[in-house]
Symmetry: C2
Subunit: 212 residues, 2 copies
């Protein structure tokens, strides 16, 4: 048994990011997908009931970015954060901006509509998806500007890239997302480099089929 | 003219947090409240149009937590972050959790209803406020548990406390918020200590009157 456990289902983009942090750092971990988000046991790990939660020995933590920063600080292995203060600030900016702006549009307004709603027997909200596309184009354009021909925060992948990669994985699996990424070649090239790493394959969830 | 500028209106809780970071660190700054969030000039500072934005010389940044981490790293002055990795992880956790969970309930569902909606000539949504109170009680209970008799992330105030203080300031100005804080004496004691500091008075916005 590893001293590190990540709690949450593998298809969650945030759970996958936390797993990639461990894979990239070279930290052995257990993935516990059998959680009851409403139950007292999980509530002790994450009193707001979201995913993932994290345990290292008797220290518990939640919030994906906090988990990533902690892993990078306390374990030996390749750096997951830039050392230059300005690149570090870019990483910090994107860690928040991905959750506050990009997740809302890419995941809630497109990915959930194309993947999750049909799995639950519903119909995708085509109006919501159509309204999301110009917002997605704007956001991917800003992301492409910071990526240039490298990564979100400098010349090496950082926590911010690893929070974005699982979302882009799903985006590429539905036509609107694939189209928007095709309009930003910098994002496609960035994704190709990160998707070639072992951490990507080791954490790839079963890919659901997108419904139209 | 200072080399540091914070952009955004003084009543914003996030703008106030960014100002407190500067005050606590001892960094001189200009506050530019005359921004057009839809305009091209501000869009260059913050392509997602939120507040605050930040400039240090020719380096620009957005996202309040990223601004705070940057200020703490590049300027001399008192530390705004704990040094112990576990306390640092607690600070990271709260910086995200305050925005992701607490802001939604405290600001969107209570403070805006009591302050902003009446200022715009509307009626507070009493049903929304009533439904928010048990959620607020739960969240303040979790916060009180981490504060104990000190601060959110150890024995000294950190960025996380300074993101929370402006929200609690408004909460105390409306009856539901004041009541919820009275039920968590640890939060009231914590607030009293932080409200006694110079950075608090120096950044206090004009307090609107809560409407019932």
């Amino acid at each position: 048994m590893s001293t590190v456990t990540i709690y949450g289902p593998a298809p969650s983009t945030y759970v996958r990011s936390a797993r990639i942090f461990c894979e990239e750092k070279g930290v052995a971990y257990d993935l516990n997908q059998e959680i009851d988000r409403e139950g007292a046991e999980y509530n002790a790990l994450h009193p707001f009931g979201r995913i993932p939660a994290f345990r290292h020995g008797d220290f518990t933590l939640h919030e994906t970015d906090a988990i990533g920063r902690y892993i990078d600080r306390v374990f030996d292995g390749p750096a997951l954060q830039p050392s230059d203060p300005k690149n570090l600030a870019l990483m910090d900016k994107w860690l928040t901006a991905i959750t506050d702006y990009f997740y809302q549009v890419a995941v809630r307004e497109i990915i959930w509509q194309r993947f999750l709603v049909p799995m639950q027997g519903g119909q995708p909200d085509e109006e919501m998806i159509a309204a999301a596309i110009p917002k997605l184009d704007h956001q991917l354009g800003v992301i492409a500007g910071d990526i240039g021909d490298s990564y979100l925060a400098g010349d090496a992948p950082s926590l911010a890239d690893w929070v974005l990669v699982p979302i882009v994985t799903y985006l590429k699996g539905c036509p609107e997302g694939e189209g928007a990424i095709a309009r930003q070649p910098a994002v496609g090239a960035w994704f190709g480099k990160l998707a070639a790493r072992d951490s990507f394959a080791a954490t790839m969830p079963p890919m659901p089929k997108a419904a139209e």
